[in-house]
């Protein structure tokens, strides 16, 4: 009940943050470990309410839920942290997936060895796109990134060497790590890998947020001109933001290709970019937990409710319009509270 009230007041996030701040280091460790443990057990909870009638629960947890969370976190660095609207995020996902598919089918490298290559190539693509595009502002950037996403897809479609419209089949699954085997019938192992990648991304974002880079992004998001006049090398930090986002997208792509065994250009349309953007916006731009929650809900609901799955994109588009019009900060807004206030009301909580 109390929780519901807080949600209505819109400060559930602040409540969580102040709870975290007041906890002792040991308490924090216990909370974090149990949360991660709980998340790791998610594959065993596919019954009752949580079950997905539309598709296999275990598979749903990996894609879309896990993948969407991962990519939404990556896009959040670009859109939420730095305020740059990237509508071509799917391009980095596609580059990661194609790297995995090409190298996996033509060389003897395995998924874990291809992962860094895929990430590096995605980052490189981010730099190549970013260098001209990030000089542009706001809506121009949006349309150029949108075009870039389409170009990557059209290029894949028209290049016969990488399968053209037929794509690439027989992408190998990752080799087993000790007793943990990767197979399509039981996707728990994939889920745990995605979970680890999500945790790494969260660690990266949290760490950078309180450092120079985080401040630079925050300054750019709020007022780019002033940021530049206060000495922030805006292009450099925008490029960083872009390529870190791209890196996460690329990593997701590598894993995705290795999981679905078959990729084709039609999987990497503008729609994917929009879906991920909707996850970020719906959950709360700039706030990690909001993004995780938003992505989880938007990825899970269409699998749970058949009606939504048929009109998935329509629902996501509506989510964008409605969120922006009525709750522009999303489900869990970014930091609004102030430490001084938290301190003064400490007794009340």
């Amino acid at each position: 009940m109390k929780l519901l009230n807080r949600l209505r007041e819109g400060n559930l996030r602040d409540w969580g943050a102040s709870f975290w701040e007041q906890s002792s280091p040991t308490k924090r460790k216990v909370i974090a470990t149990s949360l991660i443990g709980f998340a790791a057990l998610a594959p065993f909870m596919g019954f009752g309410l949580l079950d997905t009638p539309v598709s296999d629960y275990g598979a749903v947890l990996v894609y879309p839920v896990g993948m969407f969370i991962l990519m939404a976190l990556g896009l959040n660095i670009v859109v939420g942290k730095s305020g740059l609207l990237d509508l071509g995020y799917v391009a980095f996902f596609a580059i990661g997936a194609y790297t995995m598919a090409i190298l996996g089918t033509r060389t003897s490298l395995n998924t874990w060895e291809i992962m860094p290559i895929g990430i590096a190539l995605a980052m490189l693509a981010g730099l190549i796109l970013g260098l001209p595009a990030l000089r542009l502002r706001g809506d121009y950037l949006a349309i150029v990134t949108l075009g870039f996403g389409e170009i990557v897809r059209i290029s894949a479609l028209n290049t016969r060497e990488i399968g053209g419209p037929n794509g690439i089949a027989n992408v190998p699954v990752p080799p087993s790590i000790g007793p943990i085997k990767f197979s399509l019938n039981d996707q728990k192992a994939f889920f745990w890998v995605v979970l680890i990648m999500i945790l790494l991304t969260i660690w990266m974002i949290r760490r950078l947020s309180v450092r120079r880079a985080g401040r630079a992004w925050e300054a750019i998001r709020q007022d780019e001109d002033v940021a530049e006049l206060m000495g922030v090398h805006t292009l450099k930090y925008k490029l960083w933001s872009f390529s870190l986002g791209a890196a996460v997208g690329g990593a997701a792509g590598v894993l995705y290709a290795s999981k679905t065994l078959f990729i084709a250009p039609e999987m990497f349309t503008l729609n994917v970019s929009i879906l991920i953007l909707a996850c970020v916006v719906f959950g709360g731009m700039g706030n990690i937990w909001g993004v995780v929650l938003g992505a989880a809900i938007l990825a899970y609901l269409p699998e749970r409710i058949r009606f939504i799955s048929d009109a998935r994109l329509l629902v996501f588009g509506l989510a964008l319009v409605i969120t922006m019009n009525f709750r522009p900060d999303g489900l869990l807004p970014r930091k609004k509270r102030e430490k001084a206030i938290v301190k003064s009301t400490q007794d009340g909580i």
Binding site: R211, E218, V226, M230, V232, K339
Partner: protein, 302 residues
């Protein structure tokens, strides 16, 4: 409509100039002598920090600045005044690299700033505040200032990500320095508050603190007293003097004559993009051309 406004403004300026003059006469010649002595003393050691050389800027046929020459000496407070639209903020925008000069140049320590990126100009020692407050509203006061101090840090994104020793050291040093600056400006008690929730006066001061965070040689203040009551203006005047005494050089745009006359070492006057006076405050306020500029001469006003 604008004519009426202009006449009102001119009258207000005239009255304030007049008040100040009477004030000065009453205080006697002692102060006059004090000002002159200090300037004489200054002349022995003064070094040009910033120099505008024949600076001209045109926007599609409109000349915003016309061959302006101006020198700012190390350690002084120079006030830049003039009627609205005279080109004062344009000077700031050229110096900080927002606009490019059509001809002429800006020199900092005899080094030309032409073609230099804006963040680089900040790095080599010019910082500014804004006429309409432009803080990073979603950051705390402290974070605003730390963002300023970031400009001189050598550790980058990866250093921060992997917690390299230098990054940690610099992060800590930046925090300490930011607190020092907030204390210096007298608003350290607000350090954990979000900038956009701060009272107006504190926001104005925080802008100065953020600029000081970049450790500038030259501090540009764009109407820092706008919207202040007399008591706050006095406090601000003291702060600006304190900043000068701490070794910074200050270039100030202001409309409040008593503030300007009270703290500036020199006053430069712009009118229609041209410099029409540049002298001690006491001299400038009696300058015929300056008074004309503020009142408007019938021939010019047409």
């Amino acid at each position: 409509m604008y004519n009426v406004l202009f006449v009102y403004l001119a009258m207000a300026v005239l009255i304030s100039i007049d008040t100040i003059r009477r004030d000065r006469i009453q205080k006697g010649k002692d102060q006059e002598r004090y000002v002159q002595e200090r300037t004489l003393l200054g002349q022995k050691t003064k070094r040009v920090l910033l120099e505008l050389k024949n600076l001209t800027i045109t926007f599609g046929g409109v000349t915003a600045l016309n061959a302006v020459n101006l020198k700012i000496y190390q350690g002084e407070i120079l006030a830049l005044i003039g009627p609205n639209g005279a080109g004062k903020t344009t000077v700031f925008n050229v110096v900080t690299g927002v606009y490019r000069a059509t001809s002429g140049e800006v020199l900092l320590n005899e080094q030309s700033l032409d073609g230099m990126k804006r963040h680089h100009i900040t790095k080599i020692g010019i910082a500014r505040t804004f006429q309409n407050i432009r803080l990073f509203g979603d950051m705390t006061a402290l974070e605003n200032v730390i963002t300023g101090t970031d400009v001189h840090k050598r550790s980058g994104l990866l250093g921060g990500l992997f917690g390299m020793p230098r990054a940690r050291r610099e992060e800590k040093a930046g925090r300490v320095k930011a607190h020092e600056i907030l204390q210096f400006i007298g608003i350290d008690e607000y350090s954990d508050r979000l900038a956009r929730n701060l009272p107006y006066g504190v926001q104005r001061r925080l802008e100065i603190a953020r600029a000081l965070g970049t450790n500038p040689q030259l501090l540009l203040l764009d109407e820092p007293a706008a919207g202040f009551n007399p008591a706050e203006k006095v406090e601000l005047a003291n702060t600006i003097k304190k900043i000068r005494d701490a070794g910074y050089t200050v270039l100030l745009i202001e409309h409040d004559m008593s503030l300007i006359m009270g703290i500036s070492d020199r006053v430069a006057v712009l009118d229609f993009g041209q410099k029409i006076a540049d002298d001690l405050p006491s001299v400038v306020q009696n300058d015929k051309r300056v008074i004309e500029a503020y009142l408007g001469v019938p021939a010019d006003a047409s």
